[in-house]
């Protein structure tokens, strides 16, 4: 049964059977991603299965292909070899069905649109998708009630990233791909947004993949941490974070948390 659901990297035109609820949200099998006609190997034989509804942080040194893996899942780069399966579909079909949303490091807001209009953008292009949430409710969810009509230039970096998150949620995606979304923000803003992402994850039940190069961020957010090694990018470890799901910023000062980050740091040094 599982084999019948596989999709080759070239794209399987066959009808997709309903996703098996027990199956992972994302399955990556033996995936290679190469650039410059195969001369640069960004990812080598990567296999990982992301459970449905999980919060997975992706950690690794520069050049380990963290973003490339996300981009392969999001149909932004093709896999040269192997299988990427997103909610039982090829990345392309999953993209067309709006099964995932992507949050970039830059907020990528359209500067001539207000916060509300930016959140509405996904509903205006690409067929709009079927299910959608109320953009105003989402701005409230990310703490921007009252700033609906502000232009991006009138918002702080953190607020812009909140708008980007609201925009990603407007299509009610099953999967949220977050590619170093808070990398350019100051630590205080980042901490606050980390807590909010956890709250949004608990409230929406969305599967979240979150790329970061901060060890505390990876440990604090992740139910699981996917550690990648560099040159070529490959899976170093896929581990569960043994912390309760309800986390607060103060938990980062506990001994358990410090032990986990110490372990991650040691793994990272081996990469």
């Amino acid at each position: 049964m599982a084999a019948a659901e596989l999709h080759t990297a070239a794209g399987n035109p066959a009808a997709t059977p309903a996703a098996n609820p027990a199956a992972g949200a994302i399955r990556v099998e033996n995936v290679d991603v190469t650039f410059s006609e195969g001369t640069v190997v960004a990812l080598k034989d990567v296999s990982v299965e992301i459970p449905q509804g999980a919060f997975v942080t992706i950690l690794g040194p520069s050049g380990c292909g963290k973003s490339t893996l996300m981009r392969a899942i999001a149909d932004l780069v093709p896999a040269a070899r192997g299988v990427v399966d997103v909610q039982g579909q090829s990345p392309r079909d999953a993209r067309r069905d709006r099964n995932f949303s992507y949050v970039f490091q830059d907020a990528t807001l359209l500067p001539w649109r207000t916060a509300l209009e930016n959140v509405q953008l996904p509903l205006e292009v690409g067929g709009g998708g079927d299910a959608h949430a109320d953009p105003r409710d989402l701005l409230e969810l990310v703490g921007l009630k009252g700033r609906e009509n502000a232009l991006p230039s009138e918002l702080s970096g953190g607020m812009r990233q909140r708008v980007a998150i609201a925009r990603a949620l407007v299509t009610k995606p099953k999967i949220l791909l977050m590619d170093e979304p808070f990398g350019a923000l100051d630590e205080i803003t980042r901490d606050k947004l980390n807590e909010e992402v956890l709250r949004i994850w608990r409230e929406t039940g969305t599967t979240i993949l979150f790329v970061t190069h901060s060890i505390p961020e990876a440990a604090f957010l992740g139910e699981y941490v996917l550690m990648l090694a560099a040159h070529p990018g490959r899976v170093k470890e896929f581990m569960k974070v043994e912390l309760p799901p309800e986390r607060r910023l103060a938990d980062r000062d506990t001994l358990e948390f410090v032990q986990i980050t110490a372990h991650l740091r040691k793994l990272l040094e081996e990469c």
Binding site: F100, D106, A107, T108, L110, P111, V125, L151
Partner: protein, 271 residues
């Protein structure tokens, strides 16, 4: 009786204050202009410069009064040529830019030709066009259009291409069509570039129309300049030059007004 003096004045004071503030803000510029005019008048008077060589400001003012009808009559054809050339030249440039951005073969084929046309001195081209199209409006409009064409083409191509790669990634994740990307993103982000070119074009199109009128015309401000020069009617010549400058200022102000209405967002520091 004392209460009578407390009745508000019919003219709202804040408005008067604002006008006063505006005058005060432009004070240095107004003072400089007044000073230069006085200096000019003084030099003409002191050195007893003959009027045909350089008329005094008072004589030019007199020419404005005497020839108001003639100036007005010749203002309209030049305005008409400049405005029509502005619209036609920029429209062709914008459409070509759109084509170039979507078809790199077209860009490679026609951009060198556009560069070649730009290198031909307009003054050299004017007689050629007069020979082909005669003494009517057509050659003037064409020259006014040609002079607008190139800066707008270059800027518009740059503007349409000035979309951050991350924004294009976002549009791809949203499965936006090329048309949607053009309409929702490229066109808007090109506007600041377009208006930078339109502001240049707004004054150069007046130059184009006047130069074309020099070569072969019996109407328009260009023809009046030639006529006044050959008849040593220097005050009229100066008055005509000032009228032409006024026309350029009006065109520039119109474009600036449209820009302020259309672009309410800042280009910098937002991605």
């Amino acid at each position: 009786m004392a209460e009578a003096s407390q009745i508000p004045m019919p003219v709202p004071a804040p408005r008067l204050n604002r006008m006063l503030d505006a005058v005060v803000a432009r004070g240095p510029a107004l003072a400089a202009v007044a000073g230069l005019l006085l200096l000019w008048q003084g030099v003409v008077w002191f050195f007893e410069v003959p009027e045909y060589m350089a008329p005094s400001p008072v004589a030019v003012l007199g020419a404005f009064q005497e020839n108001a009808g003639t100036l007005w009559l010749n203002f309209w054809p030049t305005f008409f040529e400049a405005a029509l050339g502005f619209v036609a030249g920029n429209l062709v440039a914008i459409l070509l830019a759109v084509w170039f951005v979507h078809n790199s073969t077209a860009e490679r084929a026609f951009f060198p030709i556009a560069v070649f046309i730009n290198t031909i001195p307009i003054i050299a081209l004017a007689p050629v066009l007069v020979l082909i199209f005669g003494n009517g409006f057509a050659p003037k409009i064409i020259i006014a259009g040609l002079i607008c064409f190139f800066p707008t083409l270059v800027n518009m191509v740059r503007g349409l291409k000035a979309v951050p790669p991350a924004t294009l990634d976002l549009m791809r994740v949203l499965s936006a069509s090329n048309w949607e990307i053009f309409w929702k993103v490229r066109l808007q982000s090109s506007l600041p570039f377009l208006f930078a070119a339109l502001k240049i074009a707004s004054t150069t199109c007046v130059i184009g129309a006047i130069v074309a009128e020099w070569i072969g015309s019996n109407f328009g401000l260009g023809a009046l300049i030639i006529e006044a020069t050959f008849n040593f009617r220097s005050p009229l010549l100066y008055a005509t030059v000032f009228t032409a400058a006024l026309l350029a200022v009006v065109m520039f102000a119109l474009v600036s007004f449209a820009e302020a209405k259309l672009i309410r967002w800042k280009t910098s520091d937002v991605h």
